[in-house]
């Protein structure tokens, strides 16, 4: 039996070393910050691997303070400044964000004395799913700690948890698969984070899906990278079954996280911002799959009720558009199960721009 364990130890160690060396998840991409800082109005940041989106957001917030700021995950990441309207818009979406990311960005705004007039916040269900954890926010941990005033013990615990998540990420199939694909492209075709001026030329030369982030923060795909509608529909239809964003494992709404979100939004409002809460739109088949599961549907209803109550209590606008029918998005208008393509993103942005900010409810006793 010892051979069994020896074989497993050897294979898994080799995979760990391979993934750590290649770093396809972009845990170590320190080059992003200077690139983002000097990104020009006509330039796009591209990369054939994931990279540290937090560094990008930090650099752009330090470069200029936006009038309109979008916070949330990639589900709101396809909305461009032109769709939102206004000249000074930053879409600061992040990959797999958590509450800690919101806290860190709030602290960045505080440190930079940046006061956006309008902040649009996309609240995905996974924000309040206790089963969803992420270590990515650790790259902005100093800001997050500054926000919550964390002590040494909680810092140690967070570091330990982060270390474990990073360890498991490097033993994951997806990481290994992406690493092998990257390697298969060959060193000459591999493109780490870099700035390109002519995206059309870049797209014509590149046939592999890559990360493309524009100066206003929104992301896009080259036309050649788009999945066929049938494939998108299959991905959307199995969103729950595949437990994407731990949806199927979601047992309850995390009131602790809701309270933290409320706290962050309250601070942003206190600094003069008008807040718009959005439940991002998903693919019609994803939405159908979510509603088909009675337990998930009930949790979503709870979340929407909680956000609606928060919005009316604090005087935020609330745009509940998870259901694509509410804004008229159709199956062909999505990149995958939960990322609206430009046509749908435009409808989403239009709906947000119509959002009415209600007057805050009077405080108790008044």
């Amino acid at each position: 039996m010892k051979y069994f364990f020896i074989v497993i130890a050897v294979i898994m160690s080799a995979i760990f070393a391979f993934n750590a060396q290649l770093d396809v998840a972009g845990f170590r991409t320190g080059e992003v910050y200077p690139l983002a800082a000097k990104q020009g109005a006509t330039q796009t940041l591209v990369s054939d691997r994931d990279y540290d989106q937090r560094s990008w957001v930090r650099a752009r917030l330090e470069a200029a303070c936006p009038t309109t700021l979008l916070l949330g995950s990639s589900t709101i990441g396809t909305m461009s400044a032109a769709m939102i309207g206004g000249s000074n818009v930053l879409n600061a979406w992040l990959t797999g964000p958590t509450v800690e990311d919101l806290e860190a960005v709030a602290q960045m705004l505080q440190v930079n004395d940046c006061r956006p007039a309008r902040i649009i916040v996309g609240i995905d269900p996974f924000f309040v799913n206790p089963k969803v954890t992420s270590n990515r926010w650790r790259t902005v941990k100093d800001f997050q700690r500054g926000f919550v005033g964390a002590g040494a013990t909680s810092g140690w615990l967070a570091d330990t948890k982060s270390g474990w998540l990073r360890f498991t990420d490097r033993l994951a199939y997806q990481t290994t698969r992406d690493g092998v694909r990257l390697l298969a492209k060959g060193a000459s075709r591999a493109v780490g984070p870099r700035l390109v001026r002519d995206l059309t030329t870049f797209c014509a030369k590149t046939d592999h899906p890559q990360s493309v982030r524009h100066i206003d923060g929104h992301f896009s795909y080259c036309p050649g990278w788009l999945k066929p509608v049938a494939e998108v529909e299959a991905i959307a239809a199995t969103y729950v079954q595949r437990d994407v964003h731990k949806t199927r494992s979601w047992t309850r709404l995390s009131n602790a996280r809701l309270a933290r979100i409320s706290g962050v939004l309250g601070k942003l409002q206190d600094r003069g911002a008008h807040l718009v809460l959005v439940t991002p739109t998903v693919h019609p088949l994803t939405y159908a799959a979510l509603r088909a599961d009675a337990h998930i549907a009930a949790l979503l209803d709870q979340l929407d009720a909680a956000l609606s109550a928060l919005a009316s209590r604090r005087g935020f606008a609330f745009v509940a558009v998870r259901d694509p029918n509410t804004i008229g998005c159709t199956t062909g208008q999505f990149f995958d199960s939960h990322h609206p393509a430009p046509m749908c993103a435009r409808l989403l942005a239009a709906k947000i721009s119509q959002a009415v900010v209600p007057a805050p409810a009077p405080a108790r006793g008044q």
């Binding site: 294979i11 033993l171 529909e233």
Partner: protein, 466 residues
Amino acid sequence: MLFNSLEFLLLFLPLALATAWLTKGTARLVAICASSWFFYAYTGEAWYLAPLLFSSVLDFSISAMLPRVTDLNRRRGLLVLSLCGNLGLLVYFKYWSLIVASVGPLLAWITGAQVDPTATVAEVLLPAGISFYTFQTMSYTVDVYRRRLEPAKSFLEYLAYVSFFPQLVAGPIARYSELGGQFTKARHNEVRPAWRTGVGLFAVGLCKKVLIADRLANAIDPIIFELGEHGAVTCWLALIGYALQIYYDFSGYSDMAVGLGHCFGIRLPQNFDSPYKADSPSDFWKRWHITLSEWIRDYVYIPLGGNRGSQGRVIATLITTMGLGGLWHGASWTFVVWGLYHGALLAVYHQLRSTFDAAPIALRRGVTFLAATLGWVFFRADTFAHASTWFLGLWGGRGLMTGYEGSHGSLAALALGGLVIAMAGHNAYQTDFRAWKPLRWVGLGIVTSAALLMMNYSSTFIYYRF
């Protein structure tokens, strides 16, 4: 926390094994109970422990009283109290939504009142494993009531029997007569781990789950979601794929549970015995989810009359028992129909036994596999409308090749491979891991490494929701 997660394999399991084997006597049982409760709370929610402890305390107390009570009516009263307590838990957590959703429209139909289509039933979260451990605790009380079992002398040993984490969430449904004595021995330091068998069974189960069941699920779920767009070929592919997925998923889980038991020196009962090699509907139920089949036989079928009485009575008992067995699986009428369907199969087999058993073995196996596979439509379909769409597709009502894509070829290959293993290969329990040569362990190590790598590309077990 799932068996197929790195948290379980690298953090929880080594710690649980170390605390169990580094402690002795009572401390060992305390360690097993504590790690089991931690596992259960971490897998779901901390409050899941409340119904678990309620059921444990209720049945331990009632069973402790039973031998001292001689009056038959009082004995029956105590038994009814136990059954009401456990079934009450099941009704509240598992069947409440179904009852409200079914009774409301029925009453409205009788009284002629209007049903509010927008009315929703408050969602009750189902604690994982409640169907399994309540059946264990009920069987314990019934056995004590029937004087077939002495009540447990130690509450700790009884708690270990109910809470033992390898079988807590999805079985096997063990009897106290099988496990109680083993936990007594564990307390007296008289059990030894069977590492080779334990590790071998666990590894095989993990590979079945991650490398076969989950890959099949990824291929068939998109088809099942939109069955209305598929013709006969893809509908049959999805059905055979699901028959194999549920087998590899649940038997994989059971192999892992039994393997973990061996690592703690506890022998859990076998739950599967190559069910797709069955040569009759009756044989199928002796090989599929064995511990549930035996539980239903002993505590439902026989008390309802069993094989006694007229043919009509036996058939009615069979069908009723299987209908209840179907309902055990989930709060949906589709599960009841699945159970009734199997009851009808058993009844037909009961009537035609001599003719059927005279047929060639290959034919009997083929017919049994086909019949069991068709039944999975009711098990997997979300609604009866979904099931009828599936049947229509199987029948060719939407054409033969409609919706067939090139990628379905890989599903066919995967299903064929899975089918060959299920029908022709040895099962894990027929393998003597203690006699394995190093080369076999190397081979299993390579395949297990693939499973470990694919684990976070995996999903929960189908039977976790029952």
